[in-house]
């Protein structure tokens, strides 16, 4: 609640003004006022209505890690079943549901949401802003993610979980061969999750182009921002493909449509096209922000700026651009024309070039820097090694003839785990070690950290490298057991042992998080002596992020004056800046040059995101249960909640005050 909101009075806020420049010393009464403007109400009301990007970011992280643990436990069940030949630990159907849910959970409910958590928390801090462009949309994106995750697990306790693999090929997932609710839960859950991802992506894109501090030109933003921006733009183009695919499948299954129905001229391959048009960009979506994390955090531990900033930023975007043109390499074995195979195989090879640019930039940064071997550095260095191994097996499968041999074998499983764990999990865990002090104000234990890294790194390689060999020995993926005379016994046993060691490593990490929350040593604002803007504010940051909007003069504002060959004479100004405290305000700047162009009024906390998220999710429950009245009711409620949300507000400068007797009651207080 903005206590000092000028809009309480029956006059319009001015349509334009010159923002005052000044200082707000910590602990001053003016700082307390700013805190009051931005703080969230205590108790459950604030809990349900908050739009603070930091709270939402932490929620994303915690929820994603819970899904990581669930997906990991599923994987351990699978590895027990595969530890030896002819095991009967799981039935075939249980096995199918577990490996499907493992993939769905890890790829959709962990991999991107965890990165969204970092980005949500860090973006405004990295960009020198007080919030994201759309705080309420941010809250909505989290609620729908949470509900979609729960939705996809609805049928799990009933033994009716999705069971056709995470890419869910028809005809096996169609109405003829899969009659239970399993696939419907997956299909509707994915459409729901797509809404969350889309609104989150819109938020990131608009935030980058409008919310940067003055002087933070487009070539000064951290690489994490480039990574998330690229992923978000890709999502805007790619998510509709998968949402549509799953919706058409649901129509086939429940309404009797014929999109994938061979008997009536439908095409099963249409599913694969629509899925992979989304799916391949998606694999870059879940790694590019993580690569950005490394590009930003690794230089801190090498005591020098990243080598080749521009090249890495361009490589990030080039990877994604090419990533839209390689989806057919998931379909090399489907009997497509040779010319298509050649083009897509060549494009898949070309992708290795921008990836290599990034890898060499990291290696050069380590090489030319003075590495400090703290836990985050170990995770980032480990990531580079795993990236190279995963990249190599990727180039191998981009070759069509080799892919024909390796397709649907454990070699592919090995490849995807090397790239997904290597380029997502390792950077993410490293990033938790790195930003934990910023999130909580406490350091994580370095000793436990080293233990967790080595256990994870050794366990991971012991677990997943032998999968390459199993694949080369011809072991198909997605089989629930195998006979002993195939020669796959030893590799599978080693893999199982390795995966358990890896799980122990993750456990050590989680224990470290819990212990450090309680007992970690206090961290100051900048414990790592890092260069970027988020370390300029206290740990944890205040509700308003920056007391005054800073002015940025370089890529590494906190290292200015310490780097050889700097030509800049201007300096970043952090202490003195725009005050902006007539209600929730921040500065909007121009997209490329970051010149101040508008004073943005930010919305207060609101229940509408939670309600919209709830009603939309219940709408999907209605579709699942074929309860059309309930569905229609929820659609109506969603629209009503959205209308309240969108209602033009005087204190946001969206409407005039005339002819408005209700303004005094509603002013500043959103419905």
């Amino acid at each position: 609640m903005a206590a000092i909101d000028a809009t309480r009075h029956r006059i319009d806020p001015p349509l334009e003004r010159i923002p005052e420049v000044g200082r707000i010393p910590a602990g001053s009464p003016i700082e307390a006022r700013l805190e009051k403007i931005w703080e969230t109400a205590p108790g459950w009301r604030g809990w349900l209505s908050t739009v603070d990007h930091k709270t939402i970011g932490v929620r994303y992280l915690v929820t994603a890690f819970l899904f990581l643990v669930i997906g990991g436990i599923e994987a351990l069940f699978l590895r027990i079943q595969l530890a030896g030949p002819d095991m009967a630990f799981l039935t075939p159907e249980q096995y199918n549901q577990l490996f499907t849910m493992h993939g769905v959970t890890m790829i959709f409910l962990y991999a991107l949401p965890v990165l969204s958590g970092f980005s949500n928390y860090l973006w405004p801090l990295l960009l020198g802003s007080r919030d994201m462009a759309f705080p309420r949309l941010n809250a909505l994106s989290y609620w729908i993610f949470l509900f979609a995750g729960l939705f996809m697990y609805i049928s799990f306790p009933l033994g009716q979980a999705p069971n056709a693999g995470w890419f869910n090929y028809v005809p096996f997932s169609g109405p003829v061969y899969n009659t239970g609710p399993n696939i419907d839960v997956f299909a509707l859950g994915m459409v729901l999750l797509g809404i969350s991802t889309t609104v989150g992506s819109v938020n990131f894109v608009v935030t980058l182009f409008r919310m940067r501090a003055p002087g933070m030109t487009i070539n000064r933003v951290p690489i994490l921002v480039w990574g998330t921006l690229t992923a978000s733009v890709a999502n805007l183009f790619a998510i509709p493909a998968v949402s549509l695919a799953f919706f058409l499948l649901w129509l086939d299954r429940q309404i009797g449509a014929h999109f994938f129905d061979v008997a009536n001229n439908g095409q099963p391959l249409l599913w694969q096209h629509l899925f992979w048009i989304f799916g391949h960009p998606w694999v870059y979506v879940v790694v590019l922000p993580a690569m950005g994390i490394v590009s930003d955090a690794l230089p801190t531990f090498c005591r020098r700026p990243l080598v080749g900033y521009t090249a890495v930023a361009l490589a990030t975007m080039a990877t994604m651009l090419l990533g839209f043109g390689v989806w057919v390499h998931h379909m090399f074995a489907t009997g497509l024309p040779t010319v298509a195979l050649s083009i897509f195989g060549a494009a898949s090879m070309v992708i290795s070039i921008p990836s290599a640019v990034a890898v060499f930039a990291w290696i050069a940064t380590i090489w030319l820097g003075k590495p400090v071997f703290k836990t985050p550095f170990l995770f980032f260095a480990g990531f580079v090694a795993l990236f190279i191994i995963g990249g190599m097996s990727g180039v191998m499968t981009a070759a069509v003839p080799l892919d024909w041999q390796l397709n649907e074998t454990y070699f592919i499983v090995a490849h995807l785990h090397y790239v997904l764990l290597g380029i997502n999990v390792f950077p993410v865990v490293g990033a938790i070690y790195y930003w934990f002090p910023k999130f909580t104000g406490r350091m994580m234990s370095e000793k436990l950290g080293k233990w967790s890294f080595w256990t994870m790194f050794i366990g991971f390689n012991a677990g997943f490298f032998p999968m390459h060999i199993a694949g080369l020995l011809g072991m198909p993926r997605r089989i629930y057991t195998y006979p002993s005379r195939m020669g796959w016994d030893e590799v599978n046993l080693i893999t199982t042992v390795g995966s358990f060691i890896f799980a122990v490593g993750v456990l050590i990490f989680l224990v470290n998080v819990v212990l450090s929350l309680k007992r970690g040593t206090r961290a100051g604002a900048n414990p790592w002596d890092a260069p970027t803007l988020e370390w300029a504010v206290s740990s944890p940051p205040p509700a308003y992020n920056f007391a005054t909007i800073p002015t940025i003069a370089s890529r590494h504002p906190l290292w200015e004056g310490r780097i050889e060959g700097e030509k800049e004479h201007t300096r970043t100004r952090l202490e003195e800046g725009y005050l902006l405290m007539r209600g929730r305000e921040t500065l909007g700047t121009s997209p490329i040059d970051a010149k101040p162009v508008v004073i943005l009024k930010m919305p207060e906390d609101s229940y509408t995101p939670f309600l919209v998220g709830l009603f939309v999710s219940l709408l999907f429950v209605g579709l699942l249960l074929h309860s059309w009245t309930f569905t229609a009711l929820m659609a109506a409620l969603s629209c009503a909640a959205l209308s309240v949300w969108m209602w033009p507000r005087r204190n946001l400068g969206q409407r005039t005050a005339r002819h408005d007797p209700a303004s005094a009651r509603r002013g500043g207080k959103g419905p």
Binding site: P13, L15, E16, I18, V21, A133, F134, L137, T198, S201, V202, V205, V206, R210, P214, G215, T217, N235, L236, F237, I239, P240, A241, S243, L244, L248, L251, G256, A257, F259, N264, N265, G266, Q267, L270, I277, T551, I552, A553, T570, Y578, T589, D593, A594, P596, V597, V598, I599, L600, K601, C639, S643, M646, P648, G653, Q654, R655, T656, H659, D660
Partner: protein
């Protein structure tokens, strides 16, 4: 060094036209929605290209009613644009007529489209063509109905005196979405109604 000098000229405050977050947000929404319709039409042409049947199985679609309907929808866009222009010039009262006309024309489009649906001999689950036809036009019709909901809200807000010539960002945002929905129809219409004529030559 751009952007680092202190601001000396006044900056607009709050949701100022195309400097507002909402304007950027709706453009991003349009990008992703346009992709959705792109994939719908990809689906249509992909399946049409591989079918062994005559296409469309029921023979060439009649163009008269859908053609008139297309003109009605475009007229609705024009009416809304005129209303928005009046607001910019300060004529709030006269802009209301433009919005009412836009809503009436949009509703007429929905009514005629529902009649079209009723007169079809196939349904969404009778054959592949029916699945495609009803899914694609259904997606579009949903967007039209949501767009009409947005227009009704904008009309109500205008009548409540929320907007003047300086502050009417909601009109700009809702309007561009409505124009988008109408432009999408041109693509849907071209794919479903005109392209069979091209294929038959």
């Amino acid at each position: 060094m751009s952007g680092t000098a202190p601001v000396v000229t006044p900056l607009p405050v709050g949701s100022a036209g195309k400097l507002s977050g909402g304007w950027w947000g709706v453009i991003a929404l349009i990008v992703t929605e346009a992709s959705l319709f792109g994939y719908l039409l990809f689906t249509y042409f992909y399946l049409a290209a591989q079918t062994g049947q005559d296409w469309p199985p029921t023979g060439l679609p009649g163009l008269l009613i859908p053609g008139i309907n297309t003109i009605i929808l475009l007229a609705s866009s024009a009416a809304f644009w005129a209303g928005e222009r009046r607001i910019r010039q300060g004529g709030v009262r006269s802009s209301i007529f433009g919005f009412i006309a836009a809503i009436a024309l949009g509703s007429a489009f929905v009514a005629i489209q529902l009649l079209e649906w009723k007169n079809k001999t196939f349904s969404i689950n009778s054959d592949l063509y029916g699945s495609l036809y009803f899914t694609i036009t259904g997606f579009h019709l949903c967007h039209v109905i949501i767009g009409l909901g947005v227009l009704l809200l904008l009309l109500a807000w205008t009548m409540m005196g929320y907007f003047d010539h300086k502050r009417h960002v909601a009109i700009t945002i809702g309007g561009v979405y409505w124009h988008f929905v109408d432009v999408v129809w041109l693509f849907v219409f071209s794919a479903l109604y005109l392209s069979p004529y091209l294929q038959r030559g």
